[in-house]
C-alpha cells in the first residue's frame, strides 16, 4: 500500500521543484530586464518619445491605410470564399473540411483586422490629443469616413462568410449581424461541433491568464521608466476577474444539469 503513496509523493515533489525553478527563472529574467532598462534608461526614453511623436504625427495615416486595407481584404475574402464554395465537389469529404478551415481562418483574420483598425482609429483620436484640431477637418473626416466604411464592409463580409459556412452546413442557423447569433449558432451545432467550440473556448480560458500576467509584469517594469498610468493595470485586473467569475459561475450552473 505504501508504494503508490511514495510514487505520488515523488511526483508531487518533481512538480513542486519544476514550479520553483520556473518562478526563479522568471524572477531572474525580469530582474535582468529591469537592469537593462535602467542602464539604457535615457536611450529607451528618447526612443519611446520618438515613437510616440511619430505616431502622433502619422497615426492617422496608419489608421486610414489600415481601414483601406481592411476594405480590400474583406472584399477579397468574400470573393475567394465564394469561388471555393462554387468549385467544391459534392463527394469531396476532405474538400469540405479544408474549405471550412479556410472560412474559419478568413473570419478570424477579418476579426483581428477589425480590432486592429478600431485600435488604430481610437488611438489616433484619443482624449489626450484632440485629433480634429491637430489633424485638420478634412483629414479627420477622411479618417472617420474610411474607418466607418471599413467596419461596415468588414461586418458584411463576415456575414457573407457565415452564409457560405451555412451553404456547406445547411443545418446551421443564425445571422452574423444578429445579437442572438452566438446562441442560435451554438444551438444548431451537433455534438462534435459543440465539443470543438468548448475545447477552443477552454484553450482561450487557459491561455489568457498567462497573457494577463505577462502584460502586468511588463507594464509594471516599464512604469518605472515611462509614464503608463494606473488605468492599464485596472483594465487588466477587471478583465481577468470578469473572466474568472464568468467561468466559475458557468461551471456551478452546469454542475448537476448536464445537457
Amino acid at each position: 500500500m505504501k508504494e503508490p503513496n511514495l510514487e505520488i509523493r515523488a511526483e508531487k515533489r518533481k512538480v513542486l521543484i519544476k514550479f520553483l525553478i520556473i518562478i526563479l527563472s522568471v524572477g531572474v529574467a525580469s530582474g535582468s530586464l529591469s537592469v537593462i532598462l535602467h542602464i539604457n534608461n535615457k536611450e529607451l526614453e528618447s526612443a519611446f518619445k520618438l515613437c510616440k511623436d511619430w505616431y502622433q504625427e502619422y497615426g492617422w495615416h496608419l489608421s486610414t491605410s489600415f481601414s483601406a486595407a481592411l476594405v480590400v481584404s474583406s472584399i477579397y475574402t468574400v470573393f475567394r470564399g465564394n469561388s471555393m464554395c462554387l468549385n467544391l465537389e459534392e463527394e469531396d469529404e476532405f474538400g469540405y473540411e479544408k474549405l471550412e478551415r479556410k472560412l474559419n481562418t478568413y473570419n478570424a483574420c477579418l476579426t483581428a483586422c477589425m480590432i486592429a483598425g478600431i485600435t488604430f482609429f481610437l488611438t489616433t483620436f484619443t482624449g489626450s490629443r484632440i485629433g480634429i484640431d491637430e489633424l485638420g477637418v478634412k483629414e479627420s473626416i477622411l479618417c472617420f469616413v474610411l474607418f466607418s466604411t471599413s467596419i461596415f464592409i468588414c461586418a458584411f463580409a463576415q456575414r457573407k462568410l457565415v452564409e457560405l459556412k451555412k451553404q456547406i452546413n445547411p443545418d446551421k442557423k443564425g445571422d452574423a449581424l444578429s445579437f442572438h447569433f452566438q446562441k442560435e449558432w451554438l444551438e444548431s451545432c451537433d455534438e462534435l461541433e459543440k465539443m470543438r467550440l468548448y475545447q477552443a473556448a477552454y484553450k482561450v480560458y487557459a491561455v489568457t491568464p498567462i497573457l494577463y500576467l505577462i502584460l502586468i509584469v511588463v507594464l509594471h517594469m516599464v512604469s518605472f521608466y515611462f509614464e503608463v498610468g494606473i488605468l492599464p493595470f485596472f483594465i487588466i485586473g477587471i478583465l481577468w476577474i470578469t473572466q474568472t467569475v464568468i467561468q466559475v459561475r458557468e461551471m456551478n450552473r452546469l454542475t448537476g444539469s448536464i445537457k
Partner: protein
C-alpha cells in the same frame, strides 16, 4: 479511442449519402464523415440513433478494440 465501425457499408446499403444520414440523426455531414474515418467516436445517443436508422444493432456497426488486441 479505438472505436472501429462499418458505418459506410450500412449507409451504402440504405442508399443514403453523408448529408442525408446526418440530417436523419441530427448530426452534420462532417461529423458522419469523421465517424466513418474513425476520427471521432459518437456519443451513446448518436450511436443509437445511427443504429436505428441503419436498422442494425450498435454492436454490429461499432466495435471497440483495445490497442494490441
Amino acid at each position: 479511442m479505438p472505436l472501429y465501425n462499418c458505418l459506410k457499408e450500412y449507409r451504402a446499403k440504405r442508399g443514403l449519402n453523408q448529408q442525408e444520414l446526418g440530417k436523419l440523426v441530427g448530426a452534420s455531414r462532417q461529423t458522419i464523415s469523421l465517424i466513418e474515418r474513425g476520427d471521432y467516436s459518437p456519443s451513446v445517443t448518436l450511436a443509437l440513433k445511427i443504429a436505428d436508422i441503419c436498422e442494425a444493432r450498435v454492436e454490429d456497426i461499432f466495435q471497440y478494440k483495445e490497442e494490441g488486441k
